[in-house]
Amino acid sequence: MTTAQKDPVVVVVQLSGGNDYLNTVIPYNNEIYYDNRPTVGIPQEQVLHLDDEVGLHPQMGAVRDLYNQGNVAIVHGVGYENSPRSHFRSMDIWHTCEPDDVGTEGWLGKVIREIDPNKENVVTGVSFGPSMFRAMAVPGVPVACVEDLNNYGLMPGIDAEEQRQKILNRFSRLYGQAIGRGPVMEFLGQTGLDALQGADILKVAPERYSSSVEYADTTLAKKLKGIAQVHLAGLGTRVFYCDHGSFDSHAGQPNMLAGLWSDLSAAINDFFDDLRARDASDNVVMLLFSEFGRRTHDNGSGTDHGAAGAVLVIGDNVNGGQYGDYPSLRPEDLQQGDVVPSVDFRSVYSTLVEDWMKMDSRSIIGGEFEKLGFISNGN
């Protein structure tokens, strides 16, 4: 199958709360790992080995299979300098690429603006979840923010269709007025119009969808199924976003992380099966990231906020394998008890933006960063 006619699509799954890098991609051959993880360490024999040094969390079976098929890139030690170890701040940095300042524009919002500068398609970016992610937010850039694809629209409570249409027409005139009352008022106007239009476009997605894949009944699986429905409907959506969590495993980590990765791994598997069955997977790349990794030494039942993490990139056109080196766990190499980032997160973004989305990344990422070779058609 050729990929030439299909526009590249990126699906971001945000692992909110700080996913524990060391227990996701496990350095099972490193004694220091076990010294540091007396409580939450994962025994060697349970680790899903990828090579002689590292392996995946036991609940990541489907991810391991995709890895073995060459479709998963694992980027080691991703982060940035002087990690603040605050969820909020760190997530902001990942979303806006502004480690030293408070950014107002999300990197994916800028990607959407670049793809569709004239706002010809208000569903170029679609976010799944009750609230929008800052990564997608750029003032004036429409993003459809969907919770339930089946009941998405304005004033569905008005039964008489004619009366509803009359109100919606007036609504659209009211929201279209430029009344010069400041940026928030303008933002509201545009959001209202985009919502109206987005709902009209997206309503066909569940209607057109049929599939033999049975997604699990988990929150994340529902989101990925929604993404599959919109993608398969061919509505021109290029950027999808959703989140999963919370990964904030200060306590009770073993069960917590197992549950989260079990749901995630199964949902990823179903999602790609669904797309492959319809010949719609080869233009999709999925990115999994978290705002930070967790502290090297466990705290007796979980792990506290740390610095470097792992990023996973999954898709048919991904050059599977591992990128970067596993950061040193030796005490003298740690900073404030954490493994030190060796790959800037913006290197991951610039690879995706340049080699996958085929766009200039400098204005989006805010500078030039060394690219990683995880996209197979990027060379």
Binding site: H87, R89, V146, G157, I158, I167, L188, D194, H250
Partner: protein, 468 residues
């Protein structure tokens, strides 16, 4: 007309210090006077409390729901819709946004509801007292893992958030302070940690374990001593950064939308003088929230800040339910109503993280805007509800109003809302399609009622209506 100005100012006060008010209530408050109304709001003890047994009688599930999803929202909604002391309830919402604790992790509704009860009870008193209560609150201890904060293995989750999110804000302390602060709170834990089954969750209680408390010397914010948690809270309260931090939160919640918390280190307040006024009141009153609120509501910067905040989902849902009426009784369906705030992006008792919710324009995206409009439009379009009926009868008293009079009366009763000329004209154009209101025959009255319902739906879908 002076009276109209007074109504508009009172409506502003009630939107902010409460959950809005019906026109009948506004008229009564105006008769009483502005400052007297502020005093009434500041003294919730004088009001009859919400009758929780009434809710229990019809919804026994609301008693200690344990791990049952969704019931906590409904219980709090019941309080917010029925309270006669709206500022007290609003302050509980305010503190809940700061001491943001979620059932996603605590997995125990009873404990978070107990925390909200505490915030309702103590939220207008001393901030220092509130911090002490929070530090010993079982839900908070579990939420931020202080039960895992041991003398020989400090867990700094609580210690960090206490400084970063509950008092001073980033940039006013060092990593060393976080660590020393955490040490001071070792041994502050909960009992009993019994398993969940077979008897369901047990109530948790604060317990101080002397044997698990780090007795060594600590250095915190320039002070050195064998500090315990109380000492840390004492030092925190004296920091000018704390006064400014709480002042900015109050300003953002009650006065005008501000930059979000993570930006505070870099972005100056929109009105630095107002922040200083609030912070001064905080220091001078020794952290007495009632005094701080009195200063705030009686200040010009507050009175002038009309429609400068995007309503939070809690405000959208509760003010609409109080406005249309008919939802005071613990009716069936309260569970679903409780979930609406979450659908709009503010699931109470379950904030997205310990940082609480982003507010202001961040409440708005295409999904949440749709939810807000749909929810409010459904209710104000229902002419069987008493609050809507009251609007219908006031319009009917006006007789055969012209399109412009019809629109202006609706805008007055729904706010008063002050629209720009173009928006108002658009509504008048809509009303003119069917001409003057007619009440002559039953059929006329029925058609006019339908027109009113449609006009109210348009009004609540306006951009202007998203502001408080």
């Amino acid at each position: 007309m002076a009276h109209q100005d007074e109504i508009a100012l009172m409506a502003h006060l009630m939107r902010r210090a409460g959950f809005g008010a019906t026109r009948e209530n506004l008229e009564a408050y105006v008769a009483k006077g502005y400052e007297a109304t502020v005093e009434e709001l500041l003294n919730p003890e004088a009001q009859e409390p919400v009758d929780r047994y009434e809710l229990l009688r019809y919804h026994p599930w609301s008693w200690k729901p344990g791990t049952i999803q969704g019931t906590g929202h409904a219980t709090w909604l019941y309080h917010m819709v029925n309270t006669k002391a709206p500022l007290q309830e609003k302050m509980a919402v305010f503190w809940h946004g700061i001491f943001a604790t979620g059932v996603s992790k605590v997995d125990h509704w009873d404990e978070i509801q107990d925390m909200v009860d505490m915030l309702r009870d103590k939220g207008m008193g001393s901030y220092k007292r509130i911090l002490m209560e929070i530090a010993q609150n079982p839900a908070m201890i579990y939420w931020l893992d202080n039960n895992e904060n041991h003398a020989d293995a400090p867990n700094e989750n609580w210690g960090r958030e206490l400084l970063e999110l509950f008092s001073m804000g980033v940039g006013n302390y060092t990593e060393e302070d976080v660590f020393e602060c955490s040490r001071a709170f070792t041994g502050w834990t909960i009992m009993p940690k019994l398993p969940r089954f077979p008897m369901g969750r047990f109530d948790w209680e604060f317990e101080y374990r002397d044997d698990d408390h780090d007795e060594d010397e600590k250095s915190f914010l320039g002070y050195t001593g064998n500090f315990n948690g109380e000492d840390i809270i004492d030092i925190i309260c004296q920091q000018p950064a704390t006064a400014r931090f709480i002042a900015r939160h109050l300003y953002n919640f009650f006065v005008s939308d501000e930059a979000q918390v993570p930006a505070w280190q870099r972005v100056a307040p929109g009105d630095p003088e107002a922040i200083q006024t609030i912070a001064d009141a905080f220091v001078e009153s020794e952290y007495d929230m009632r005094s701080v609120l009195r200063t705030l509501f009686n200040s010009d910067f507050f009175k002038e800040a009309r429609f400068t905040r995007i309503k939070s989902p809690v405000e959208v849902v509760v003010s609409t339910l109080r406005f249309v009426g008919g939802h005071e009784f613990p009716a069936p369906g309260i569970g679903n109503l409780g979930r609406q705030m979450g659908y709009m992006g503010q699931e109470v008792l379950n904030p997205p993280s310990v940082e609480g919710w982003h507010t202001g324009r961040e409440w708005i995206n295409s999904g949440s805007l749709m939810r807000r409009i749909n929810f409010v439009a459904d209710l104000v379009g229902d002419t069987s509800l008493p609050g809507v009926q009251s609007i219908v009868s006031r319009l009917r008293e006006g007789g055969n109003l012209s399109a412009a009079e019809f629109v202006d009366t609706c805008l007055d009763l729904m706010g008063p809302l002050d629209l720009d000329a173009a928006t108002r004209q658009e509504l008048i154009d809509h009303a003119e399609i069917d001409g003057n209101l007619k009440w002559d025959t039953d059929k006329d009255a029925e058609f006019t009622t339908m027109r009113i319902s449609e006009m109210l739906q348009l009004v609540v879908s306006l951009r202007d209506y998203q502001y408080a």
